[in-house]
């Protein structure tokens, strides 16, 4: 798994590549904890290049979302596709996160 971040005005865009599973989920959580500690509150997570997400990955996603919510922040998901989209559909995760077609759409939603 590889995580890239960049700032788009007040929003932090996090691009996750590879697999998000039991092995990599702790790294994902640590990365977000660091960003939250730095004072970031609004995130768009770009999942376009995410090949696979396991239940541990979903849990990490949930835990970070909950932490951001605790800081009165927001988490948007963008570009969910392929097997990841299937997992989101089956598990019902698609219905509890704000999901957008693309990063731009998500950013628009933030601005709006």
């Amino acid at each position: 798994m590889n995580i890239e971040t960049f700032k788009e005005s007040a929003t932090t865009v996090v691009k996750v590549t590879g697999r998000l599973d039991a092995v990599t989920s702790s790294e994902y959580e640590q990365k977000f904890n660091a960003l939250i500690s730095d004072g970031e509150t609004i995130f768009v997570v770009d999942l376009e290049k995410l090949d696979y997400i396991s239940s541990a990955g979903l849990r990490a996603l949930l835990a970070t979302a909950k932490r951001i919510k605790g800081k009165s922040g927001q988490l948007f998901l963008a570009n969910i596709a392929g097997p990841v989209k299937e997992v989101f559909n089956i598990s019902g995760f698609g219905s509890i996160f704000p999901v957008y077609e693309s990063v731009d759409c998500a950013l628009n939603a933030v601005a709006g």
Binding site: Y52, S55, R59, I90, G92, S95
Partner: protein, 646 residues
């Protein structure tokens, strides 16, 4: 123990060899240079010595020829009676100790008309002066045929004869200086006779051998023809010439040397004697006689001092190298001694004994530093091993605890099949293989009343101990609430709300929960984010399409919806967790929904245990040795229908 390659041996070898080499080169250079200097000096000495000897011989000869000249001039200017002549000769001999004989030989009838030949000769005999008449003494050959008479007579000048044995005259080996004298009366110059004076070779030999030349060096005298005139070897005198010696020795260089001498040259040469000894020779001509004087120096005697010095130096050098070796050996041993003891101790350490005492170090040199490093290393190794032992013990304890936990978890799931031997309406079979010692997957089935069988499969997020703990809670809640509420959507909603309280870690479980009415095959089911089960019917095997529903745990008040389907006798529902479809092979390819569907179509369906084992084997085959990354859980249920009352 270190052998021939030890530091001590190498140090001694290298240092000794190097110093021996340096010493040899120095000694050799010193020897050759000394030799060169010595040879130069020798040449000078030899030349001086030879020239001084030449001068002595020359002055001897010159004085003789002067005396002879005086006699001749006297006889030319004055008219001598026989008595006066004899007196003159006698006085001449007595006044010159170097002379052996003195005489006058007249031309026929030149002394007086009465005597054809007249030649009085005075010589020393047994310490006294004797007189003989040569015209009588020479019995075989008249005196005017002798060289000493003829040659000066013909040449008209002073002449030294080649040495000869004066047989009948002096009866000695001698050389004669002869001078012709003339009668000047009437303005006509007529030869009257020849004055002669003799010196013996013995006196010359005595003269030149009086000079001491080293121990075995000597001087020698050679005639114009190369004849040996004076030499320490008496027997060769007048018997051998330079050329006869060269001939007998087949020595061309000796012949050439003889030719140079005969030509009156001088020089300094190295030659080998008959015995093979090397000798230096300086030769120079004696002008008045045309002879050659040679001074001979044996080389070994010349170089004896240099040799002695070199030998002394060699002995001192060898002694020095020996002392150096001892010193090097001492230093090397003092260096390697502590190393050796350190090697011995580290050998013991290497065998695993860390309690051995390291040798004490007094010095702060490299060995001391090394020893201290070893001490530190042993301490850290001991510490490391203690930590490792503790960690290993702790790990073993955890392992054994996990083993117990595995057994407990397995015993919590119904695992005795057939589970309901008295119920012919359905068959049920299930299995759970945790990826780690304990898993987060579980299944369960139980009757909520006489006819309704609740069966469920669940997957807790993540795996291992946290998942197992959460699984225990979820399973307990699902069973108790299942028996109490008896309706899938209610069961899931209720359990979700309980789990959502104090769920800071956002743990969750996906659950597929169903209730089979054994009387008619009706199935009510609700899904909380779990993978859709498969329906294996006689005509068709397919995934159920069902409403997703959110997973149990993270959010309170999630809503679930009960759906329905009816199983015909022979239909099978196949429930599984994502450990099946997400099993990966070494190429990281997922087993996937399609492979599972295909495998189920092909699998034997008579016995559910066979079906599940078959799918498990298929998944294993797909994994092809790749480690199992998630718990693999399957549950299958077949509705058999109600047996005819009849």
């Amino acid at each position: 123990m270190p052998g021939s390659k030890s530091i001590v041996t190498r140090l001694i070898l290298v240092i000794s060899l190097c110093s021996a080499l340096i010493f040899t080169v120095t000694l050799g250079y010193n020897y050759t240079q000394s030799r060169l200097v010595l040879e130069k000096e020798l040449e000078n000495n030899a030349r001086n010595l030879a020239l001084s000897l030449v001068n002595r011989v020359e002055s001897e000869l010159v004085s003789v020829s002067k005396v002879t000249e005086g006699v001749a001039r006297s006889l030319e200017t004055g008219s001598y009676t026989e008595i006066q002549l004899h007196s003159l000769l006698q006085t001449t001999l007595a006044g010159n100790q170097g002379l052996y004989g003195s005489g006058v030989a007249y031309e026929p009838y030149a002394f007086r008309r009465t005597d054809r030949l007249y030649a009085p000769f005075y010589f020393r005999k047994n310490g006294k002066v004797s007189c003989i008449r040569l015209e009588e003494a020479y019995a075989d050959l008249p005196y005017f045929y002798w060289d000493w008479y003829q040659i000066p007579r013909e040449l008209g000048r002073t002449e030294w004869s080649e040495p000869y044995f004066d047989d009948g005259g002096g009866n000695m080996l001698m050389s004669t200086c002869s001078i012709p004298f003339y009668d000047q009366t009437d303005g006509v110059r007529r030869l009257k006779g020849v004055v002669k004076a003799d010196i013996t070779l013995a006196s010359l030999t005595k003269l030149i051998s009086s000079v001491k030349i080293l121990k075995r060096g000597y001087a020698a005298l050679f005639s114009r023809n190369g004849m040996i005139l004076a030499h320490p070897l008496k027997e060769s005198i007048m018997n051998e010439t330079f050329f006869s010696i060269a001939e007998s020795r087949h020595d061309d260089s000796l012949r050439k040397l003889g030719q140079k001498m005969v030509r009156g040259e001088s020089g300094f040469v190295l030659y080998k004697s008959e015995s093979g000894a090397r000798n230096w020779m300086y030769y120079a001509p004696i002008r008045s006689t045309g002879w050659t004087l040679a001074v001979v120096f044996p080389e070994d005697e010349l170089l004896a001092n240099v040799r002695k010095l070199s030998m002394t130096m060699a002995v001192m050098g060898l002694g020095g190298i020996f002392l150096l070796s001892i010193a090097v050996s001492y230093i090397a041993r003092s260096i390697t001694g502590p190393l050796r003891s350190l090697v011995a101790v580290t050998g013991v350490i290497a065998s695993g004994n860390f309690d051995v005492e390291l040798p004490s170090t007094r010095s702060s040199d490299e060995v001391g530093v090394l020893t201290n490093s070893f001490r530190l290393m042993i301490a850290s190794l001991k510490e490391y091993i203690r930590n490792l032992t503790e960690t290993t013990a702790a790990k073993e304890r955890i392992q054994s605890e996990l083993k117990v936990a595995t057994d407990i978890q397995a015993s919590l799931l119904p695992r005795i099949f057939p589970a309901f031997p008295h119920r012919a309406e359905f068959d049920i079979y299930a299995s759970m293989d945790p990826a780690k010692e304990v898993g987060g997957d579980f299944y369960d089935f139980f009757f909520i009343d006489e006819h309704n069988l609740c069966f469920l499969i669940a997957d807790v997020a993540d795996k291992g101990v946290p998942a197992a703990l959460y699984m225990m809670v979820a399973k307990t809640l699902l069973k108790s609430e299942g028996q109490r509420l008896g309706e899938p959507e209610l069961i899931l909603s209720y359990v979700n709300n309980i789990l959502a309280e104090d769920n800071d870690n956002c743990m969750f479980a996906t659950v597929f929960c169903a209730i089979l009415d054994t009387r008619n095959g009706d199935v009510r089911f609700a899904n909380a984010g779990h993978n859709p089960p498969l329906l294996i019917a006689s005509q068709k095997t397919h995934y159920l399409s069902l409403q997703a529903g959110f997973v149990l745990g993270p959010m309170p008040d999630s809503v679930y919806k009960t759906e329905r389907l009816t199983l015909k006798p022979g239909d099978t529902l196949f429930l599984y967790t994502d450990g099946v479809t997400e099993a990966i092979n070494p190429e990281e390819q997922l087993y996937g929904d399609d492979r599972l569907l295909h495998a189920l179509k092909e699998a034997p369906k008579e016995k559910l245990s066979d079906l599940i084992h078959c799918i498990r084997a298929e998944v294993n085959r797909h994994a092809n040795g790749a480690p199992q990354s998630d718990d693999i859980t399957m549950l299958a249920i077949t509705y058999r229908g109600v047996a005819d009352e009849a």
